[in-house]
């Protein structure tokens, strides 16, 4: 009987040093059930290290990581508490996918019936009796998901599960993660590509240099990043820029025909352009992509750190912007 357990991952004050690198630097966060939490940050930010610490594979120098209030190493049926996918390539090439799942199942006291269930869940029915060595990366990811789902765990922790998936696979993975969260599970998904988490993650944990830079809901983050900007499409770029700048707006050109306007509401822009007879084909409230929101967030983080470390990086960050700003 698996005792009922809170579906959470709680990490407090984790520190971990590898030689000269401080991989985790006083890291604290909580992953709550019922939503997909995106775990993002540049390579080397500490995402994989955190996951290894949570799974008891790496010992932290300080701090602790708990699954539903318990240390991972004390769990009796660990796979019924946490399903993890760390490295989809971690397979013995000569062993079939089904046999890989079979030994995992046996270690938890589970039988072949459960193995066949997760094979169906991962859509591997036709390939399950083939050697894993011949699997594509996408198939390995599916096998990894099957392994993570063996114990039907309330907590899932997946490291880069979208890697190597074909478009169909990405759609499948998004649907699966969403439905698992909807069942009340805590789902932590790491990625270094924001676009993968678009429309998937409900919550975002942003890591940088072993610290939490942001712990925010995706909806709020995107709203904040979108601001009150308006996207405007026109063939008369310079005329529009002059007109709107005179009205007090900040106008940036995104490409040859598109401008991003902030400081003026969409209705007011339409009125101004109509009054002056400037042609335009589209005016819409701008909605930032998750990627844009993330870039903005991490740029701030870079500036924040830069201010402490060396002055002048603020200018560098602005100067490197490709945007052409007219006031």
């Amino acid at each position: 009987m698996i005792p009922a357990m809170e579906a959470t991952i709680a990490v407090t004050g984790l520190r971990k040093r590898f030689g000269p690198t401080q991989a985790l630097d006083d890291l604290s966060f909580t992953v709550t059930p019922g939503q997909v939490t995106g775990f993002v940050g540049p390579n080397g930010a500490g995402k994989s290290t955190t996951m290894r610490v949570v799974l008891g594979l790496d010992t932290p120098d300080a701090g602790r990581a708990l699954i539903g209030g318990h240390e991972y190493r004390t769990l009796k049926h660990p796979l019924s508490h946490v399903g993890a996918l760390l490295d989809a390539a971690a397979l013995q090439p000569g062993r079939t996918a089904r046999n890989h799942l079979l030994w995992l199942a046996h270690s938890q006291g589970l039988g072949a019936r459960r193995v066949d269930e997760v094979i169906r869940l991962a859509g591997l029915e036709t390939a399950a009796r083939r050697r894993a060595g011949g699997y594509s990366l996408g198939m390995r990811q599916r096998l990894g998901i099957a392994a993570a789902m063996l114990g039907d765990p309330p907590v899932l922790m997946l490291d880069e599960p979208f890697n190597g998936l074909d478009p169909e696979g990405i759609v499948w993975m998004r649907g699966l993660l969403g439905s698992l969260a909807a069942q009340g599970r805590a789902v932590l998904v790491s990625s270094h590509l924001m676009s993968e988490l678009q429309d998937t993650a409900d919550h975002l944990l942003v890591l940088g240099r072993g610290r939490v830079i942001a712990d925010t809901s995706v909806r709020e983050l995107v709203a904040a990043a979108s601001g009150d900007r308006v996207t405007l499409r026109t063939s008369e770029r310079s005329a529009v820029m002059t007109l709107l700048a005179r009205a007090g707006a900040v106008v940036a050109s995104t490409d040859r025909e598109t401008l991003t306007v902030s400081g003026l509401a969409a209705e007011r822009i339409v009125a101004l352009l109509t009054a002056d007879g400037v042609p335009f084909s589209e005016v819409s409230a701008h909605r930032a992509t998750l990627e844009e929101a993330y870039m903005e967030l991490t740029r701030d983080a870079v500036e924040f750190r830069g201010a402490g470390a060396r002055s002048g990086s603020t200018e560098r960050a602005d100067g490197s912007s490709a945007e052409e700003v007219v006031r």
Binding site: G34, L91, R95, W103, G151, P153
Partner: protein
């Protein structure tokens, strides 16, 4: 924020996740890699194959008047072991109880274990039961019986100024030996029960001197031996027979060649003879040969059963590779993380892996030995070879021991693989401490001294468990590794190997628990 949802509860419940489940998981892991199962089969085939090669190349034939003939089979003693039973025997019949007493006043013996004295024997056939009290070249007075038994009596050499009195009494099937320096104060040496001794036996005096055996060369490549016959001469007087002896004529015979006291014509072999001084009644008995257990190795002309297991080292190499891969393949692929995520008790994981490795290797060794021993024995015999007979228990020890040898080697490989986390390095290291010392010590590469130390200290000591040849202190021979004699007793040698494996496993468990994976 999303609305609160009831926490999810796992629907997949394992009955239990204890050590048996872990064991089953590790066994599933092992058996589902086809290459590894094929590896076990290869280990069996190599072990048997090397045995077959060796057996096929081993021929023995004896020349007779009309070309090669089958060699006569050597005599077997009452204990079932092969024996040497050619000595010069001056005897007469004894019916019922009785005794013989003599004084040995002179003994000229070239060999330490040359012997002369009194004996009661169940006929003159080779291999028959006997008990004897004797003086020896350098080992003092001894009482010996049924070839393998040896008890010490008075020490010291025999001369006319320091004679030895010997007495052997028969009472039913019990023979008791005594010695004395003066003929009046007797000391009991020991007693022998010769089961099934008939009423009428042969009683008398004997002399024997084993062949002088020398190694052909020293150092590198030593191992060959040459032997040349020797003979010993004893002077025995004050001969007293009591009880149911005929008391008349003494007959001299050499081994099983009754009635030919001067030896058997042109055949070079044991010789002997006797004279009785008509004046003093003293006997001079001269004899060569020996009455003793047959000892294997270069000095013997039989084959040891373990000869059929020479291929064990090859099977061991394969098993070492598999034992190493069982853990290093996981490190190489990153699968170790999956394993330790499923079973966070790391020492338990290592223990389960060790049990699976040991079990697979044990089965491999047992099957290989159970096939190789009868198959190669059959071929050896068909090629005219004589095998030293071994008891059922010894045969079982050889079969089970071969399995245990492979099992412990596999566990050691697993442990070293865990410590080093590199397959190639671990395989090299384990082979360098097991197979390499074994080959250096037994294939006449190293001199005897270093060879014996290697087989005492290194894990290769475990190969001793395959030794069936017995060491007999009462027979001088080359009890060296080259001749198939290990310096440690079978289970002692195996214990040394187990010690090394336990050490490696302990270190592996410690490191596995401490390290990040």
């Amino acid at each position: 924020m999303t609305t609160t949802i009831a926490p999810y509860r796992s629907q997949a419940e394992g009955a239990r996740a204890g050590f048996p489940q872990l064991l089953r998981a590790e066994w599933t892991k092992f058996r589902t890699v086809r290459g590894w199962m094929v590896g076990l089969l290869v280990a069996v085939l190599l072990t048997v194959g090397f045995g077959l090669l060796s057996a096929n190349g081993s021929h023995r034939s004896c020349s007779g008047p009309s070309g090669d003939v089958a060699c006569p089979s050597p005599p077997v003693g009452p204990g079932g072991g092969m024996v040497t039973d050619t000595f010069y025997f001056v005897h007469q019949s004894l019916t019922g109880d009785g005794s013989i007493t003599v004084r040995v006043s002179g003994f000229s013996a070239p060999e330490a274990w040359a012997k002369a004295g009194v004996i009661v024997k169940n006929g003159t056939g080779q291999g028959s039961a006997y008990a004897a009290v004797m003086v020896t070249g350098t080992h003092g007075v001894r009482m010996q019986y049924d070839y393998t038994h040896d008890q010490a009596g008075l020490p010291g050499a025999v001369s006319s100024s320091s004679p030895r009195w010997l007495r052997l009494t028969r009472s039913g099937s019990t023979l008791t030996g005594y010695d004395s320096t003066d003929g009046s104060n007797w000391t009991r040496i020991g007693a022998a029960q010769l089961a099934g001794l008939p009423s009428t036996v042969q009683i008398g005096m004997f002399a024997a001197s084993p062949d002088s055996v020398k190694t052909l060369s020293q150092g590198i490549g030593s191992g060959g031996a040459s032997s040349s016959p020797t003979s010993a001469t004893a002077t025995l007087d004050n001969v007293t027979l009591q009880g149911g002896a005929s008391g008349a004529t003494w007959t001299g015979s050499m081994g099983n060649r009754d009635g030919s006291p001067a030896g058997g014509g042109s055949v070079q072999g044991p010789t002997g003879g006797f004279q009785q001084d008509p004046g003093t009644g003293a006997f001079t008995v001269r004899g060569s040969g020996d009455i003793a257990p047959a000892v294997g190795g270069a000095a013997g002309d039989g084959q040891a059963v373990e000869r059929t297991l020479v291929g064990t080292f090859a099977g061991l190499v394969v098993v070492v590779v598999l034992g190493t891969l069982f853990i290093t393949a996981e490190y190489r692929r990153g699968l170790i993380r999956t394993t330790l995520t499923a079973s966070p008790g790391r020492v338990r994981v290592l223990a389960a892996k060790a049990v699976v490795c040991a079990g697979a290797a044990f089965a491999t060794g047992v099957v290989a030995a159970a096939v190789a021993i009868p198959l190669c024995t059959h071929i050896l015999k068909a090629n005219g070879n004589v095998l030293y007979p071994v008891g059922l228990l010894t045969e079982v020890r050889l079969v089970v021991g071969t399995g245990l040898l492979l099992a412990v080697a596999a566990v050691m490989a697993l442990a070293v693989g865990t410590i080093l986390r590199r397959g190639a390095g671990a395989v090299t290291l384990v082979i360098a401490v097991t197979v390499l010392p074994y080959i250096l010590a037994t294939a006449s590469v190293l001199p005897t001294g270093p060879s014996e130390w290697l087989l005492r200290l290194s894990p290769a000591a475990g190969f001793a468990v395959q030794q069936s040849l017995q060491v007999f202190p009462q027979v001088d021979s080359f009890y060296t590794p080259v001749n198939g004699f290990f310096p440690l007793a079978p289970w002692a040698g195996f214990a040394v190997m187990c010690g090394w494996a336990a050490l490696a496993l302990g270190l592996a468990g410690h490191l596995l628990r401490r390290r990040d994976v």
